[in-house]
Amino acid sequence: MNSLLTSPLLDSLWILAAWATTGLVGAWLLLRIPSLSRLFYGLLALESLFMALSGLQGLAGRSDTRLVLAGGIPGLPFHFRQDPLSSFFLLLLGAASVGTLIYTGGFMKDEPPRTNALFLLRTALFLSSMGGVFLADDAYLFMLSWELMALVSFFMILTDRKREDVRRAGYLYLLMAHGGSLLILFAFALLASHESLSGPLSLENFSFGRMGQTILSPPVALLVFLLSVLGFGAKAGILPLHVWLPLAHPAAPAPASALLSGIMLKTAVYGLLRILFGLEGLPQLHASFGIGLLLAGGVMALFGILYALLQSNPKSLLAYSSIENIGIILLGIGLSILYLKTGHFAAGAIALSAALYHSLNHAFFKSLLFLGAGTMVHATGETNLNRMGGLLHKMPLSGLLVLAGVLSISGLPPTNGFVSEWLLLQATLQAPSLTGTLLRSAVLFGAALLVLSSALAAMGFLKFFGIGYLGQPRSDGARSAHECSLAERMGMGWLTLGTLFLGFFPAFVLSGIRGAVFSLSGADLPSFSHEFGWTWLLPFPPHGPSTSPIFLAGLLLLLGLPVFWLARLPGRGRRRVPAWGCGTRQTPERSQASAESFAQPIRHFFPVFFSMKRHIPTPDDPDPVFSLAVEDPHWPLLYRPLFRLFSLAAESAEKVRTGRISVYLVYSFATLLFLLSVLRWR
């Protein structure tokens, strides 16, 4: 443990305070001088940058510092701790939010001052509360920050609160968030109370330091695992608790979606890691927990990307893709538990670092893509991909930045998405060293799901980019689209740079992640030093598989240049014709592939996953209308029956309520008699 003065914990705490202060002062000033908006978002971005540096410092020095501050509840002051895991997530929070904040300054400039000021305040408090989640070292502070985060994000979703669908999405989110918090609270209570069998239950038991020493019986350990997976899963969108995600993201403004999906989902990953590895502790986990998490993550990934493919709203497409990415991260965590519990420490460490790496990657490229979707919606005034198209000509720079995000999230070779998915795949390919057919087949099944969903992700984002940015404009809004503001492009540019960096320098990134992995699992990553140094990634030295994104990028460039040169070769009567023109002179916009037609093969191949309502007109129908509605099967199969059951129970309970005072008095009388007799003849 390092001394407090040299550790980044104090810096991080100061930045939390600075965020909140900037938000409060900024909101107050913006109401009076609206033109200051970009300045304050810039200030927040600067503080985020410092947060990233603080996280980086903590990771580099592997510092682990605790601090107890007055406050909290009697008997339980605020405990803070910044260990490598916290540092890693603070780095993620800071680095990814810089871009979003710069972007927000440009995005919100045309909003009325009141909306703008409120959004600034909420954003600042949101960042601050997420930082609090990462730094909390007792259950009270954790839940306080967690709930504050849930509330503030609820209000961020409700920015456009006059729309009915926005309010519904917001309330569904709030419901899920609170249900999840309740489960997390139960998990904490189990962890805190089980230690006290020897001594009296004191509030000090709720500090993470004490919870980490608990000894749980196997059933309780399983219960804590399930509670935390479901509780954090409600936030992260684990099946079947994901239904709020595809509703909330289209409802929220783009920067809010970017923060929610890019960073807030990671707080759930952090919480899960903290409870499973930190508080419950690796010795009390069981290999079967890993299998469960692995399969849940794999199914989530496949389900998420299949539904992402079907979406025509770019933001709900991205929301479903977030489910896929969280699935991949959970798959990695499950895999690492499985390996670590069966004694394969190197593979476990690689799987865990792949999960962390993917969290970082997802924070960058998903924020970038949500911001990109925001510019698409802003520029065209449309929310349906079918009414966009041809945007690359109108907004070339932001289009290119989005393309970088699309390539990364598809996991194409020289990008960061490729690195983390490749690492995870390499970890799954260590399955033959496991003993037991069940374990091996579970891991390989997970690997198959992972590969399938990455391939489908590439298809989904081809649709996102192809329908949105390529081809011909499909509506007047798309025809009159304009490039977004400088601040927006700068914000997206920052995120693109981050994505590229994460892709090109994996060995450097992994050396940072090593500290967090070591503090979690006690297993160290193999050293990446190699004859080619930092350019080459070799997870299982000395003879394992290896890759080098930089080398691949160079190779691509080398192979691509001649093609480019050939295509650009002057002369020989090159002419430009409208795309999808098919040689006719008519406007080709209706002859393009639509968002639905792009996904048709998927609907055809995976019918079990979809609940479709299709109406195909008969040939002699005088007024033929083709309609297709695809719904998330969790609504008709789970949620609506649940709601019906609920309202049925409520209605039958309603019969008790006659509205007559005497009858109410009889109720209290009978209750009193009943309770007294229970007390007496118990």
């Binding site: 309520r657 006659t658 509205g659 007559r660 005072i661 005497s662 008095l665 009889v666 209290s668 009388f669 009193l672 008699l673 007294l676 007799s677 007496r680």
Partner: protein, 223 residues
């Protein structure tokens, strides 16, 4: 104190307790509003005497103050307020009941049996001289509750409520020699203030509904 007097006083406390129980039954069966208030005053007097005798038997001087306060509030102030209310609201009619009186009395009998069964372990645990009377207090409490249930008019509800308070006070005295003085004073003032508030409400209720029948207040049903 001679053991002879002691025994006598002990008997007196027992007698007063049974009289209290009887008065609760009387409240259940009364048909005229003014006699109801009179019985309430009588209950207050019995309570005062009971407190006084327990104070002497147990040698608890602070109970003397309790007795004084009980007398002032429950025998003088509250009945006077209630009578004035009846007068100003011109209530002379009969008490209207939801459940007829004989049935209520039978239910009341079962309630008394139940309360004694309930109180028997508490009586064994308590160390007071009058511990046998805890059951009486409990029975009086439940009977007052029963009165609140079976009567139609709002003012009888208030009387039932005040009766419950009396019974609670009686149980407290017999189980633990009363609550701390501060609590008792607070409760006494609460009851007084509550009666004032009820009085104001009655005027409002009559303004609004032209009647005190509870059925006019039965509009909480959501359609």
């Amino acid at each position: 104190m001679a053991p002879h007097t002691h025994l006598l006083l002990n008997r007196l406390v027992g007698f007063l307790g049974s009289a209290l129980l009887l008065s609760s039954f009387a409240m259940l069966s009364m048909r005229r509003m003014s006699s109801l208030v009179r019985i309430f005053a009588l209950q207050g007097l019995l309570l005062t005497l009971g407190t006084l005798s327990v104070a002497i038997v147990a040698g608890e001087p602070h109970l003397l103050f309790s007795a004084l306060f009980t007398f002032i509030f429950k025998v003088l102030v509250l009945p006077i307020i209630l009578f004035r209310l009846l007068e100003r609201l011109r209530i002379r009619g009969e008490v209207e009941v939801l459940l007829n009186v004989p049935t209520t009395m039978v239910v009341g009998l079962f309630v008394v049996v139940f309360s004694f069964a309930l109180a028997s372990p508490i009586s064994e645990l308590a160390s007071t001289v009058s511990r046998g009377l805890i059951g009486v207090g409990l029975a009086a409490l439940l009977l007052s509750f029963l009165m609140m249930i079976t009567r139609k008019k709002a003012i009888t509800q208030v009387l039932g409520f005040l009766g419950m308070e009396n019974a609670l006070f009686f149980s407290a005295i017999n189980a633990t020699y009363g609550m701390p003085m501060v609590v008792e004073l607070g409760v006494a003032f609460d009851v007084l203030v509550g009666t004032f508030v009820f009085g104001i409400f009655f005027f409002q209720i009559r303004e609004t509904f032209e009647s005190f029948d509870l059925k006019h207040m039965d509009n909480t049903q959501t359609e």
